[in-house]
Amino acid sequence: MAVIQNIKQIQSMPAEARAAVDEIRRADIVVGIPSYNNSKSIGHVVQAAHAGLAKYFPRHNGIIINSDGGSKDGTPEVVTRTPIQDAQLLMLSTPMKPVHRLSFPYHGIPGKGSAFRMIFQMASLLDARACVVVDSDLRSITPEWFDLLIRPVLDGGFDFVAPYYHRHKYDGTITNSIVYPLTRCLYGQRLRQPIGGDFGMSQALLNRYLERDDWETDVARFGIDIWMTTIAVAEGFKVCQSFLGAKLHDAKDPGADLSAMLQQVTSSVFMLMREYENTWRSRTGSEPAALFGFRYDVGLDPINVNLDRMLSAFRKGAEDLGEVWKLALRPDTLAAIMALAKSARAPAFHLDDELWVKIIYELACTARGSRLERTTLLKSIAPLYLGRVASFVVESADMGAAQVEQRIEKLCLTFEDLKPYLIGIWFGEPANPPATPRTPAPAAELPEQLEV
């Protein structure tokens, strides 16, 4: 079986990547960096990776692989030519094994997922014990990130290490309003940044990813992050988080529009909900995942928000797209949205948690069913999402980081409380009335999760 899998992987890899694998033969750690026109920032990421491997894993064979999507700005050249001066940089005196740096264009559907696929294939063929992937546009990455993402795998027996960052309250809004609460509620693991983009993985998990045959779906694009996280938690792999500080990064591809990103992420989430329906059906509540790393406060990039534009998009969406939303949403849910849209004005706008959770659950149920119309439906939800973000912006205008975190916790509890409603509409069973709404514990009473 393993031989067949290896043959399949070799066949679908670019020739130069195959030749590199043949030459290098084996590696302990593979660092993967997907890129597309990131020449300005990728040099720093490569330096951090190189320094991280040298400083924390000097006795391991490490390889840095850049999987490039056909950059026109010389990104691959930056990867291979960025000067590294380990001794001066890290004040190292002990000898260390050399770190290879490779850059190849990947094949297949253009997107982050396809880039990861080539990295995983190479890591698997090189028999790597651990693989870590990081974004190529990170400005806040340090060598310590690699220790935090790799060591739980090599020394702690974990299969999947998710990142845990400090982010601005308006950063990561898809994570905060949809992906984190939904993943947590479904699979019972509190991984705070399930689509963070910087992950550590064991060999076993890597091979599981490669076994799957859904690489040609939205997984090939922005759906990859949630796909990786969901498979890890749903299939019982040992998961943890590492605190990496702040996540500061460049703006993503300006050509990529919001609705496409939302569609790819939600499509992956809903597709996996169908696959793992028997898994999440039986799971109740949620538990915190182990958290490594020393937590500290950091300064964050400001995020500017134009509230009026978001509300205008929400109103226009309700005006235009009611016909499409009608496919997914129950009449009372749709009526509540339409009523809200009529009076959507800045200071008093509020899209409550229960309505938002029902919207997500009902969308999930419909997206599971209609294969052909799923894309159309999911491309139409950007205004709903903007309405929810606008409501959050209004509500959190004067909130500090701890209060915002509590607010997100409250939303997560609503997702969990309404899970019987999801089970009811998903499996066609009568739903039990939801339990009395819970309120999150005050910030001071939250259990300390740091282990290192």
Binding site: V305, N306, R309, D320, S370, L372
Partner: protein, 235 residues
């Protein structure tokens, strides 16, 4: 006088009796046969409703988006639909067999026409169904696309798409049925040509100004978007 009247009445009654003698046996048999077919139809419908779950078919219709075309929420159950179709099919067959028992020129022609037209009606129905599905699917796609691209009047674009696709389906269906095919085809050509002409005139006369206004407003919006860009780029 009375005798003449009697003769007339005898002639009429005789004619009626002759006709009754000729038509009553097949009528009785036809009524009996139709009653049997009604019973058979009810039985088949009951068996199909009870015995066939149709869950796979329900899921297939849902996956294909056909359920949403038939019902807004897409909760279509195939079993009652199939059972209903079987019920009516058996009734129609019973009625045709009953009619054929009379063996008159009129009934023979009716049965022949029905048998001859049935495949055409089914084909035309399928074309209309497929057209309706395609029209709905394409109009929704156009609606979402025009909305996301911020084009003016997304609902008008969607409605126009639906009308055009349905019109093509109707033309194809009438072609199959042989029902005034030239009229529908000519209407289609006239409508299509009219639309192209109208679009050309609209673009020629008002398009430049409209495009200029649109580009100006986009440029102004783009400037406003710069500040907000960071939100879109932070998932």
């Amino acid at each position: 006088m009375i005798k003449t009247l009697e003769q007339l009445l005898e002639g009429v009654v005789g004619g009626i009796l002759t006709q009754l003698n000729r038509l009553l046996p097949p009528l009785i048999v036809a009524v009996f046969l139709f009653a049997v077919f009604v019973l058979l139809a009810v039985l088949v419908r009951w068996i199909l409703t009870k015995a066939v779950k149709g869950a796979r078919m329900d899921r297939f219709l849902k996956d294909m988006g056909l359920s949403n075309m038939l019902v807004d929420q897409g909760d279509v159950h195939t079993t009652p639909m199939v059972a209903g179709a079987a019920y009516w099919l058996i009734l129609i067959i019973g009625a045709l067999i009953g009619l054929s028992l009379f063996n008159t020129q009129l009934t023979s022609r009716m049965v022949e026409s029905a048998v001859f037209m049935l495949p055409k009606i089914v084909t035309a129905g399928l074309i209309l169904l497929a057209g309706a599905w395609l029209a709905q699917f394409l109009s929704r796609s156009v609606l979402v696309w025009t909305h996301n691209e911020d084009l003016p009047g997304p609902r008008r674009w969607a409605a126009a798409t639906k009308v055009m696709v349905m019109f093509v389906a109707v033309v194809a269906a009438t072609e199959i049925l042989g029902f005034a095919p030239h009229v529908f085809f000519a209407a289609f050509v006239i409508l299509g040509s009219g639309l192209v002409l109208a679009a050309s005139l609209a673009i020629g006369l008002g398009g430049r100004d409209a495009i200029r206004r649109y580009l100006d407003s986009r440029a102004a919006e783009k400037h406003a978007e710069e500040d907000e860009k960071s939100l879109w780029n932070h998932l």
